[in-house]
């Protein structure tokens, strides 16, 4: 009985205690359910995001650069399919064997092999190594033929920059190449879109317009496992090609410029005198920008770098030259504007001019005799302009020259290599050289020598602004969103004012005090080219359709000694470096002018012999292309 009693009591104890535990169990399970609820329901979004972050990884692909087209829509900087060779190390069975095979197939250098091995050590086994960025078609075919034996090798088709006109536009466009660290750090957009293998603009418009041209990355999303290995491709987000940019340039004219300057150092600029459109801008010699795309070889680079004609310099905007006699239209205009001379004013040229015991020579030793402004311009009489400059003074001349764009950047913002040149005045000398101005310096400034320095493009713009009747223009090389037709530009110029859309005000575009003075200078330039004894008479075109007016210039690169003057050597007898630069500025057609140009042939000798004949050849083409260009003015409008 006792036993059974205690048995019952024990059962009671066990049951009671079980209930206590049972209650605790319910509470604990409830707590676990609550935790599950909080993780899976309340914080579901957070954890879903974290889970996606875990499993999805994005691979950026290089963006496709925007095309650059000429005025007529011809692609001058485009993109080309290229064939590349990648190795995916994790798929390779025998890496060394593969390298030996590839070395034989593609003639890889030992240096390249070392580099591939180094890359292999740095990269993850599933990241591809770019063995060759640009395989030729025959190499590509060869690789594909042997593919069965080249496990882990992947021939890839991709897109690369291409300059179809090779060296024609190098100085305008620049080129693209692999960015260095600093370039990536300096540009936020490049930093965001950078992927290995991507190329960026290194020079010229490619560099300046980088942010417009660059385009956006295509993005490939992959599901990856915990070790970062790609498992699935999820989606492909297409990138957007960079903006298309249309330039004002005409490839036919640009090409012709290249031909005309072939083998010479120099520059040709052609400009629309109303709209300021740059039609051509060629610096000679040029080089092939395509060489830089996949890393230029040392030999090729040295060849460019050591060329004595200095192809790396964009002479059109970075070359500084004494304008020589091409400045004379400005000197004449300034004197007319300041009422220092009139058309009847005459100077007797005896071949030289004495001033304070110093002799200033005219290029014509025998002298021109009594010359008026028109004749002085026609025959480029130095004595006349010494005298005019003396009467005018350098400061007044400086004001006129500045108005016409000398001593200032022409394109300014677009090329960071552009130089602003120099047009001196008394204050400048005092401030910069610490010395007082000497009258003799005024005289040589009057014939475009001495301190004065200008870029070919400045001379072109100067000429354009004389040609259009003396109105200020804003040169440009990119067709803007709302291009103004030349008729509109001309009309508003003739009213003297132009509505400036940037500052939203009417700007006084007149560069003259008296319109008549411009006409006088234009006529003088006409006579210089089209009348007997004119310095560029031999290069004239009689057909009024092509007839142009111009001014030659011969810029001394060193002081001519008395002995040399007496010797009067032929060009070939003078060492190349000592020969004069030949210059020519012109505009045409003479009736209803449309285009201005400037030509410089470095060390070419006299302007009339070396530069003016080029203009003759070029003008025919320029005028012939005029109608085509006019039709094209309403070509698609591109915003940048």
């Amino acid at each position: 009985m006792i036993k059974s009693n205690s048995g019952i009591r024990k059962t009671d104890v066990i049951n009671r205690r079980m209930f206590i535990i049972g209650a605790a169990k319910v509470v604990v399970f409830a707590a676990i359910v609550a935790r599950l609820f909080s993780l899976q329901i309340n914080e579901n979004k957070k954890y879903l995001t974290l889970s996606d972050k875990n499993r999805i990884r994005e691979w950026k692909l290089p963006p496709t650069r925007g095309n650059i087209v000429d005025y007529f829509g011809n692609v001058i900087a485009g993109n080309l399919k290229v064939y590349q060779l990648h190795i995916i190390p994790e798929q390779v069975e025998n890496f060394n064997y593969l390298l030996v095979r590839l070395k034989n197939l593609l003639n890889l250098s030992d240096k390249k092999i070392t580099r591939i091995n180094k890359l292999k050590a740095e990269l993850k086994p599933w990241d591809s190594i770019i063995v060759s960025e640009n395989l030729s078609w025959s190499q590509f075919v060869k690789i594909n033929n042997y593919l069965y034996d080249l496990v882990g090798v992947k021939p890839v088709m991709t897109i690369s920059r291409n300059y179809p006109f090779n060296d024609v536009y190098t100085h305008v466009l620049g080129y693209v190449s692999q960015p260095n660290e600093q370039e990536i750090l300096d540009n936020q957009i490049i930093q965001e879109r950078f992927v290995p293998g991507m190329k960026i603009g290194k020079l010229g418009l490619e560099k300046r317009l980088e942010n417009h041209l660059i385009g956006t990355n295509a993005i490939q999303r992959y599901e990856v496992n915990a070790y970062g290995k790609r498992i699935n491709q999820l989606e492909h987000q297409k990138g957007q090609q960079g903006s298309k940019i249309r330039l004002t340039v005409d490839t036919e004219i640009q090409k012709a410029c290249g031909k005309l300057l072939n083998g010479k150092a120099g520059s040709i600029s052609v400009m629309d005198i109303f709209t300021g459109d740059i039609i051509a801008m060629y610096s000679s010699p040029s080089y092939n920008p395509n060489l830089f795309l996949f890393g230029i070889s040392q030999d090729e680079w040295q060849l460019i770098r050591n060329n004595p004609l200095k192809p790396l310099i964009n002479k059109t905007i970075s070359g500084l030259y004494s304008p020589g006699s091409t400045i004379k239209p400005i000197v004449a205009l300034s004197a007319l504007e300041n009422n220092v001379i009139d058309t009847k004013f005459k100077v007797k040229c005896t071949g030289k001019m004495e001033l304070y015991g110093q002799t200033f020579h005219c290029w014509k030793e025998k002298g021109h005799g009594w010359v008026s402004m028109k004749n002085a311009m026609k025959q480029s009489c130095d004595t006349y302009f010494y005298e005019v400059a003396r009467l005018l003074g350098v400061d007044r001349l400086n004001i006129t020259a500045q108005k016409f764009g000398l001593g200032k950047k022409v394109l300014g913002e677009y090329f960071d290599t552009e130089k602003k040149g120099l047009f001196p005045n008394t204050k400048w000398k005092k401030n910069n050289l610490g010395k007082g101005w000497v009258l003799g310096e005024t005289l040589i400034t009057g014939i475009g020598q001495g301190y004065i320095q200008s870029t070919p493009l400045q001379l072109c713009m100067m000429t354009a602004q004389i040609a259009n009747g003396g109105y200020s223009i804003k040169p440009k090389i990119i067709v803007d969103s709302n291009p103004i037709s030349y008729e509109d530009a001309k009309q508003s110029m003739e009213s003297g004012f132009l509505f400036d859309s940037e500052s939203e005000e009417l700007l006084d575009k007149r560069l003259f005090k008296d319109k008549k003075n411009i006409k006088i200078v234009q006529e003088a330039m006409f006579s210089s080219t089209n009348e007997r004894f004119g310095t560029s008479y031999k290069s004239r075109i009689d057909d009024p359709k092509y007839q142009f007016a111009g001014k030659t210039g011969t810029a001394q690169v060193k002081r001519i000694s008395k002995r040399e003057r007496e010797l009067d050597l032929e060009l070939e007898q003078i060492p190349y470096k000592d020969r004069d630069h030949a210059l020519y500025v012109a505009y045409g057609p003479y009736v209803n002018p449309r285009y201005a140009l400037s030509i410089i042939v470095e060390h070419g000798g006299s302007g009339s012999k070396a530069a003016a004949p080029i203009a003759k050849k070029l003008f025919k083409l320029i005028i012939d292309r005029h109608e085509l260009r006019n039709k094209q003015s309403n070509f698609e409008r591109i915003t940048i």
């Binding site: 205690s6 048995g7 009591r9 024990k10 059962t11 104890v13 066990i14 049951n15 205690r17 079980m18 535990i21 049972g22 169990k25 604990v28 399970f29 707590a31 676990i32 359910v33 935790r35 599950l36 609820f37 993780l39 899976q40 329901i41 914080e43 579901n44 957070k46 954890y47 879903l48 974290l50 889970s51 875990n54 499993r55 599901e223 990856v224 496992n225 915990a226 070790y227 498992i231």
Partner: protein, 374 residues
Amino acid sequence: MFQHDRLNNEITLLQKIKNLDYVLLISVILLSVISVFVMYSTDGGEILFHTKNHFVKLAVFFPLMIFVAFFNIKFWHNFSYIIYLIVILLLVYVSFFGIKSSGSQRWMDVYFFVLQPSELMKIAIIMCLAKYYHRLKIENVNSLTSITIVLAVILIPTIFVVSQPDLGTSILIALSGLIILWLGGVKIKYFIYSFITFLISLPFIISFLKPYQKLRILTFLDPDRDPLGAGYQIIQSKIAIGSGGLDGKGFLKGTQSYLDFLPEKHTDFIFTLFSEEFGFIGSVGLLILYSIIIFRILRIGSISRSNFARLFCFGYAFAIFIYIVVNLSMVLGLLPIVGSPLPIMSYGGSSMLATMIGFGIVLSAKINHKQIIA
């Protein structure tokens, strides 16, 4: 009375089958089926090593459970001490000749599979203490002798298992033992006193922990202190569970596990995978299934006439509950990481063997619930 006894002793096989607890049986089958599918998912949707082995083990141990059930509960009562001693001997054997793996020595090779005796101890200790309290007079429950004996019975295997080292299992063994103490009627104040003593000596105990164990506690307190190292498991586990949402990512679509972000997904973190693929609904469903099993075991305990069966069932129900709680709390980031499998679901032969034997004895108790053990 004698007749009644005899009647129960001579219960026929048919009656035995009839008397099986089918709610428990179906729940266990359901759980087994789920576990095979989940294992199939951990293998990435293919029948590979883990799925195959898990299925084979189920196929062997499930009949073993029925086999165990067909022995009279009295038989298990009689052999309780011996079973306990055998398992102790196995622990001793393992501590000398056991197979070493990843820094611990817990396993022994028994030809067809690798046995982990500490898992068997989880059952053996319940059996042993259930028998002890079954036989102990209620008056002696709180005597010094009995408490000393009981504590020794708990401490001996616990120390062996701790020294393997296997903190998780040893805690589960100790807790399984202590619950019988509790059920047996040891004074509540003893529990309160020892709990307070435990809290006070906690810093002291922690100082005895191995560096990796300390690290686990630190990681538990702040998983983000080393997200790619010590905290990686728990962070990834929480991400997997949290991203499952209400209805989960779908069977075989758990990205966390499929892409190898989940560590130990076959064993301790199996629930994480399940929860990622089946969501809150699935997880609660699984908990309900476990609750049914626990409830059925408690019910069988409460209808048992013998205190041995009652104590065993209650103790075993609590043990199952503790395994689940420790495992889920761990994967949910509520407890530090201690290795503890989820019954039936986790891959692991010894754990499943022990669990199935446990169910078998419970079923035996059900079949023989009228059996009185003297």
